[in-house]
Symmetry: C2
Subunit: 311 residues, 2 copies
């Protein structure tokens, strides 16, 4: 099952995608269910009731007619992993403890949905604004002190995530802080895919395209710490809640092709770790994160419309 | 004005404290106002209406008869500062960039209210469970790109905060991650005090007592980066929202008195930076964070009731 949230008369409604182009509006087939995905996840049998309501039906609404929004209303926690792909550890030269997930947090305000624009900081504020293509996991079943072998029972589904990062701010201190939390700097979507449809996350591949050029591509089994181990670790201290999100980390940059002028030009990189094949996100860009068998998260990048210049 | 949240028939209600022992229930004098403090802060004139509703009245309910709860319903972001007091930087030997606030995030789930127990991790999980007495700032007026000289206009008020930290988990990697986010590991309260009553935060002192012994005491002007500069910095990337909280960092440990057996015993410290005068929080302890002219935040520490042993 693929669950979307979409803009509907000034509010956000839920849908279930059927096939490549159409979806079923949840309020058409199950008006008794809550309008927020987290509220449905919090019901013991919420996802099962949703599945039953759409079973055997085909979508009568076109995806092309709606705008997809973030599907996690009021998430309690959005965790993210630093340095969880061997290729990214190698390109940064940074160290991480291989025995424990390297975790930090993001606010819901730092993410937009699949068809909303990502906002680049003004040049005067920062220039090293980077994509990070990732798999994200959404928790369905609450839990604490979860053993690794039962961790996957707590997963409600998966989505693509662009963990947009402002490197200058990230490097102000050891804690990433604001650098990972610029307003509307990242995105997730296009939908939540349930585990029965996605299968084993380690058997998929994540890739990131900027303006059509593939900039990251890595098998998800290149992760240092896998989904089950991250869930089990978190549950040692934190009670996982339905709707919590975990962004599983990003791989390194692909080596650029010989004719890739932009990817070869290190003089246009503002970050601390110049890397062939890395380009920054700039207003006007189209950035896509694709996970095979899951879908494509595609966002335009725009300049900050709220910025009125330096005082 | 001192605003509390308290447990009332299974829900949380708001009150305004008048004098040392009594308060006015907001629903008694302004039933038209929302029941959540953030909802009131989100109204342009919410605090002014609350002030008007209680003006000249004295409290008819006893603080002793109610349980104080966290007063921030569904905060959007809870920021915290690492290494913002010179005495704490000195005792850890760690480095921080003096030009920028050193920021990380906590979840609402990591905090309890003024009269709820703080939960210590089981010994098998972690032992270096530390208090951090702090001033916390709550945002009232939203804003982005806020100049330093206008930053204090965005403050709704102040409170005491215990930024309880699990050092073993904090040290697993460079990002603090789970170590700063154990469930119910910290607290804030007892109330939100508005700036007209609190005055200039730099002219106050924070202290922490464990079982009656003062373990931290520092003037708030020992901060590396002050409240106005933190607000202005955050607003470069993040749109501040009513109800956002900023914990301003903790000072170093006080040197123990000669007869202070516990404070002198470094062999009972499990953290990475043994420091005379530092003791860990343990079940049974009473921990108090006091800011002069603001109030005392007092919590009991309990063992985790949800822990059933290692499998």
């Amino acid at each position: 099952m693929k669950i979307i949230a979409y803009a509907n008369a000034g509010r956000t409604a839920l849908g279930v995608v059927t096939g490549a182009t159409h979806f079923i509006a949840v309020h058409d087939v199950a008006p008794e269910l809550p309008t927020g995905l987290i509220d449905i996840l919090e019901m013991r049998d919420g996802l099962a009731r949703l599945r039953q309501a759409v079973e055997g039906k085909s979508g009568d609404r076109a995806l092309a007619d709606v705008t997809l929004k973030p599907f996690l209303n009021r998430p309690n926690a959005m965790w993210a992993l630093a340095l969880n792909f061997k290729s990214h550890i190698a390109e940064t030269g940074l160290q991480t403890n291989p025995d424990y997930p390297h975790l930090f947090m993001r606010t819901a305000a730092s993410f937009v949905g699949a068809e909303e624009p990502i906002v680049a900081p003004p040049d005067e504020v920062a220039r090293a604004f980077d994509y990070e293509g990732e798999l994200a996991v959404v928790i369905g079943k609450p839990g604490r002190y979860i053993p690794v072998e039962r961790a996957m029972e707590h997963v409600a589904g998966y989505t693509c995530l662009n963990e947009g990062s402002v490197r200058e701010y990230q490097m102000h201190n050891r804690q990433f802080g604001l650098g990972k939390n610029f307003e509307a700097s990242g995105s997730y979507g296009p939908w939540l895919m349930t585990p029965d449809e996605f299968g084993d996350p380690q058997r998929h591949t994540v890739l990131t395209r900027v303006n059509g050029v593939v900039r990251q591509r890595a098998p998800l089994d290149d992760m240092l710490i896998d989904v089950a181990n991250v869930i089990s670790y978190l549950s040692c201290g934190y009670s996982l809640r339905p709707g919590d999100l975990i962004a599983m980390g990003t791989p390194g940059a692909l080596k650029p092709q010989p004719d890739d002028v932009e990817g070869l030009d290190l003089s246009r990189q503002y970050g601390p770790f110049p890397t062939p094949g890395l380009v920054h996100m700039r207003p006007g860009d189209c950035v896509e994160v694709e996970i095979d068998g899951l879908g494509v998260l595609r966002n335009r990048v725009i300049a900050d419309p709220s910025y009125a210049g330096v005082e």
